[in-house]
């Protein structure tokens, strides 16, 4: 009942790969993700692809279909010509793990850097009162399903890895905007944070992010532009400018945009070098390597168990009060020596070769 359609899917991993051709049956009413699933069940059981809800609600199956960043589950096959070859590639902005799966940890890293909601100190749970009209502005941004298509399409980082350190991307601009517009958020420095820490200034409003948003969030018009406007208000406000001249460096109020240069203030990553606009390339080798490293979420070597210390941070060395004849082991009492070899996290580089 189906028709045969041509697909070209990128297969490979961090070391490289290429487009592979597949001819696959497509039935009426199917979407691109269905075709990928059919391939997994038939020709390519190990074809890697993320997905969860298959209803456009979780934002997992982000991919580039004929070069356009899209959700696989929301791209109907009926939108293509019958004889059209459909090319599916992984998101370009993030490092490939395998096939269509990319390492999106950049986004989670930026999420962790964005200061969280600060609850008002004078309200107990249940006492929050807000008007619908006031919460709606933030609610628009909270529709975000974190598919990271906006991050992927943003040209500031799409082909400029070196900008990743200084630039958080549209997803986190609307997070800042959402908190800025939250009627009860206790912080007042959201806009300045967006400017100094998130690199809001890099955005030159090409609206690509808005265009690809599957939730139709008006990222640029309702999130980025209002924040830029208000940042500009402050930045070029003559009183603020005068204030920044009168206060000595280091005394500059936290809200000033010049805080990045004051030694006492939080280190501003936007001001710390390795920062280039879309047009420029990076010439700072160190910053580039740093940016390329990113964060690897899983690979932390477990810390040894810390010994039990007292309030002053010292080992309880008094034999009188301790239940043993000597001080506790500095490695913690649950560790005995020698450690059994299988408890070691160390793997000799040549051990595989020796065993075979």
């Amino acid at each position: 009942m189906g028709t045969k359609r041509q697909f070209r899917i990128w297969r490979g991993d961090a070391d490289g790969g290429d487009l592979q051709d597949y001819t696959v049956e497509v039935n009426e009413g199917e979407v691109v993700l269905d075709v990928i699933h059919r391939l997994q069940a038939t020709d390519a059981p190990d074809l890697a692809c993320r997905w969860n809800c298959k209803a456009g609600k979780c934002g997992s199956c982000s991919m580039e279909i004929n070069g356009m960043p899209k959700l696989g589950c929301m791209t109907r096959m009926s939108t293509f010509e019958e004889d059209e070859t459909i090319t599916v590639t992984p998101l370009r902005t993030f490092p490939v793990i395998r096939d269509l799966v990319t390492d999106v940890s950049f986004n989670y890293e930026k999420a962790r850097e964005t200061p969280a909601f600060a609850p008002p100190s004078d309200l107990a749970p249940g006492e929050y009162r807000m008007q619908q009209v006031d919460v709606e502005r933030s609610q628009e941004f909270r529709k975000c399903i974190e598919c990271f298509l906006c991050q992927n399409v943003c040209h500031v980082i799409r082909d400029h890895d070196e900008n990743k350190q200084a630039f958080s991307g549209p997803r986190y601009f609307i997070r800042a905007a959402e908190l800025d517009m939250h009627p009860l958020d206790a912080r007042t420095d959201r806009k300045d944070y967006a400017q100094t820490e998130q690199g809001l200034g890099f955005c030159n409003i090409t609206k690509c992010c808005t265009e690809v948003c599957p939730e139709h969030i008006k990222i640029t018009d309702n999130g980025i532009i209002p924040m830029k406007e208000r940042v500009v208000d402050r930045r070029y406000d003559p009183l603020v400018w005068l204030g920044s001249k009168i206060f000595r460096r280091g005394q500059v109020p936290q809200t000033s945009v010049t805080s990045g240069h004051s030694p006492g203030a939080v280190r501003s990553s936007a001001a710390s070098g390795g920062v280039h606009s879309h047009a420029g390339g990076s010439h700072d080798a160190q910053a580039e390597t740093q940016a390329q490293q990113g964060v690897n979420w899983h690979r932390e070597v477990p810390h040894p168990t810390a010994p039990a210390v007292d309030a002053s941070g010292k080992l309880p060395l008094t034999e009188l009060t301790f239940d043993r004849a000597a001080a506790p082991s500095p490695f913690g009492d649950d560790v005995t020596f020698p450690l059994p070899p299988e408890h070691l996290n160390f793997a000799h580089p040549e051990q595989d070769e020796r065993d075979h």
């Binding site: 009413g29 199917e30 979407v31 269905d34 997994q40 069940a41 059981p45 190990d46 890697a48 993320r50 997905w51 969860n52 809800c53 298959k54 209803a55 456009g56 609600k57 979780c58 934002g59 997992s60 589950c73 929301m74 109907r76 009926s78 793990i97 395998r98 096939d99 390492d103 989670y108 999420a111 962790r112 964005t114 969280a116 909601f117 609850p119 749970p125 249940g126 929050y128 009162r129 807000m130 619908q132 919460v135 609610q139 909270r142 399903i145 974190e146 939250h182 958020d185 979420w297 899983h298 690979r299 932390e300 477990p302 168990t305 649950d334 299988e342 996290n345 793997a347 051990q351 065993d355």
Partner: protein, 646 residues
């Protein structure tokens, strides 16, 4: 041989939470707030869990819209919805604590829809006496998970300030699957699994594990559940010596999309029918009038004319039969399709286009209009929708202590919360009770896991041999190349469950299902996966299959045993509710690798709780013996009251 060639990353934690949906995240927050070093294991990326699919809202008797609402009313509704098979204590705790859990979310940054006076707005839902569901449009689940995710980030930021590392006390292991729980005697000692990304193994040494892995829907062909719902937690618990209860109860939502195939199973909200949508078969007949059961005869219209008048004049007309309870409608659709009057895709038509003007449909059902337009290219203002029952939720799950969420059975240090735990919803869950369930029991499980760790004299140790076995089991499908493709096996399992252990069950079919599941077990034991260990979905599915299989066996066995129809369990050969069966829970455990089924009496409701119901209602559910007891209780109360007055 394996330990020398296989690298296993090791981590030490106090509490390991398996599952990063609503229940898991809430449990992790609580464990971290109790000062425990906590790991969150997420099968997908952080924030993608199935909780995002919840639309309607979270039920909590805050009384913001109707001040007469309180926990007693919510408790009554929940027990009624579950046909009195619920664990009463869980229903009680849930009703009492849900409002606090919702208010707490606001302090984490959640933005619910508001009432005119600025409080959290609440909406009506099936089975709830008053407007009770806190909601954010139709994306409440997303708001809930995002809020909890952001709360975890805020805790990590605190830890960064204090300890210099975001991961100092709470860490998310995304795209990580746990395949085995490891024990030291009867105590939990750790959890073993793999990173999906690299295929490398990881061992968490931890004295307490909280299961929050959700449901089992992927064992069914038509389901509203995501791929993660393979019953991992259910199976891990069984293998660790815990027990499952109520596994025969699955909620099938009557109206899921069936066409096109890409969206098969996705929910079509009940409000379509509430707003005038009618169900028709392929002969164009409005068939629900043929399926009104006798007990409901008096409340439902007999003619289309009367039914149509109800929408505008509900006081003088009876309800249209399209609005019968979920199980009745699901059964009716099923019968029509089986009688050959369904669409080729196996559904019936849900028609709103011929009932309301296009403008009105767009105004009242914007998300449905959008859903069908976007996913199916169907304009519901012009053509009918194609719908059929879809597997939605499993009421059964890990048998837990209602207060602490600690698993019963022989294991210690294991906790469960959310859909993976059983008892709270009895035989049928009310809409909206799921999101509040996650929060209430997630918090409890996380807190009690922390307390359990505090009370431990020594830390349980992971046995090296157990890790080796786990490695071998995990690698087996990759090392075989003679077995079957895991996708074929999953399709066969789905066919068995969908056809033989579906909405309507019959003794012969269930027996047949057990035979076929036994055959599948042999085949699954020999499954092979091609490719390497790096992000290999075929291998992942091969490992999930054995979980799906054992959970399916529990469902089939329990369904065969329970000779009555109640809530999410319908036996064609025993079509009515039997009060004797209400007193029985069916408990599954694992002996060797076979499922053992036992009957266990239901805990008895405390007098002040059963006193919340009136006798006429109880008479529908209780045995004569129980009713006599209830009467004695009422009489004693009356006597005591009189004495006080004297």
């Amino acid at each position: 041989m394996t330990t020398t060639t296989t690298r296993i990353e090791r981590h030490h934690y106090d509490v390991v939470v398996i599952g990063a949906g609503g229940a898991g995240l809430r449990a992790a927050i609580e464990a971290r707030l109790a000062g425990k070093k906590t790991a969150i294991i997420s099968k997908s990326l952080f924030g993608k869990a199935h909780t995002v699919m919840a639309e309607g809202g979270a039920a909590a008797a805050m009384g913001n819209v109707n001040s007469r609402d309180n926990w007693q009313v919510h408790f009554r509704d929940t027990m009624r919805g579950g046909k009195f098979l619920n664990n009463f204590r869980m229903a009680e705790l849930h009703a009492k604590e849900a409002p606090q859990r919702i208010w707490e979310l606001e302090t984490y940054g959640a933005l619910f829809d508001r009432t005119k006076d600025g409080k959290i707005s609440q909406r009506n839902f099936g089975g709830h006496e008053y407007p009770r569901l806190a909601h954010v449009g139709d994306r409440t689940g997303l708001e809930l998970i995002r809020t909890l995710q952001q709360k975890i980030v805020s805790l990590q930021q605190e830890d960064k300030r204090e300890h210099g590392s975001y991961d100092a006390r709470i860490k998310v292991f995304s795209e990580t699957t746990i395949t085995e729980l490891l024990l030291d005697g009867d105590r939990i000692a750790g959890a073993f699994g793999y990173y999906r990304e690299s295929g490398e193994f990881v061992l968490f040494e931890a004295p307490a594990v909280v299961l929050a892995t959700g449901g089992v829907g992927r064992s069914y062909k038509v389901t509203s559940n995501s791929w993660e719902y393979t019953g991992d937690g259910h199976a891990l618990a069984l293998r660790a010596g815990a027990t499952l209860i109520n596994m025969e109860f699955l909620q099938f939502h009557p109206t899921g999309m069936v066409w096109p195939p890409s969206v098969k199973g996705i929910l079509v909200t009940e409000s379509v029918r509430g707003d005038g949508g009618i169900l028709k078969n392929t002969e164009g007949k409005r068939f629900m009038f043929d399926y009104v059961p006798d007990v409901f005869r008096k409340q439902y219209a007999e003619t289309p004319e009367e039914a149509d008048r109800w929408y505008t004049d509900p006081d003088n007309n009876r309800r249209p039969p399209e609005l019968l309870p979920r199980d009745e409608v699901a059964r009716a659709i099923n019968s029509e399709v089986k009688a050959g009057r369904g669409t080729p895709a196996g559904g019936v038509y849900l028609d709103i286009a011929s009932r309301l003007p296009a403008e009105e449909i767009r105004r009242r059902l914007p998300s449905m209009h959008h859903q069908f337009k976007g996913l199916a290219d169907v304009d519901i203002t012009k053509e009918p929708m194609e719908v059929g029952p879809t597997c939605h939720y499993v009421m059964g799950g890990v048998e837990v202590d209602p207060d602490s969420g600690a698993a019963y059975g022989s294991v210690r240090g294991l906790f469960a919360a959310g859909e993976v735990s059983g008892g709270m919803h009895g035989s049928n869950r009310l809409g909206g009770n799921s999101l509040s369930d996650l929060l209430v029991f997630g918090k409890r499980a996380g807190g009690h896991a922390a307390t359990y760790v505090d009370q431990l004299a020594g830390r349980p140790r992971v046995a090296v041999a157990a890790v080796e076995t786990a490695v071998e089991t995990a690698l087996a499908p990759l090392q075989r190349d003679t077995g079957e493709n895991p996708y074929t096996l999953q399709q066969d399992l789905q066919a068995v469950m969908g056809d033989l252990v579906g909405i309507i069950r019959r003794e012969a079919e269930l027996e047949d299902a057990l035979v076929r599941l036994a055959e599948l077990r042999e085949r699954v034991a020999k499954v092979s996966a091609s490719g390497g260990r790096r992000y290999n979905p075929g291998w992942h599915l091969a490992l999930d299959l054995r979980n799906m299989l054992v959970v399916s066996e529990c469902t089939a066995k329990a369904a065969l045993e329970r000779r009555e129809s109640r809530g999410g369990h319908t036996r064609e050969d025993f079509p009515t509710m039997d009060p004797q069966w209400r007193r029985v829970n069916l408990v599954c455990s694992l002996v060797g690798d076979t499922v053992r089924l036992e009957r266990k009496p239901l805990p008895k409701m405390r007098p002040e709780l059963i006193g919340l119901f009136d006798r006429a209602e109880l008479a529908k559910y209780l045995t004569d013996e129980e009713l006599t007891e209830f009467d004695a209780l009422v009489a004693a109360d009356a006597a005591a009251a009189e004495k006080e007055n004297d």
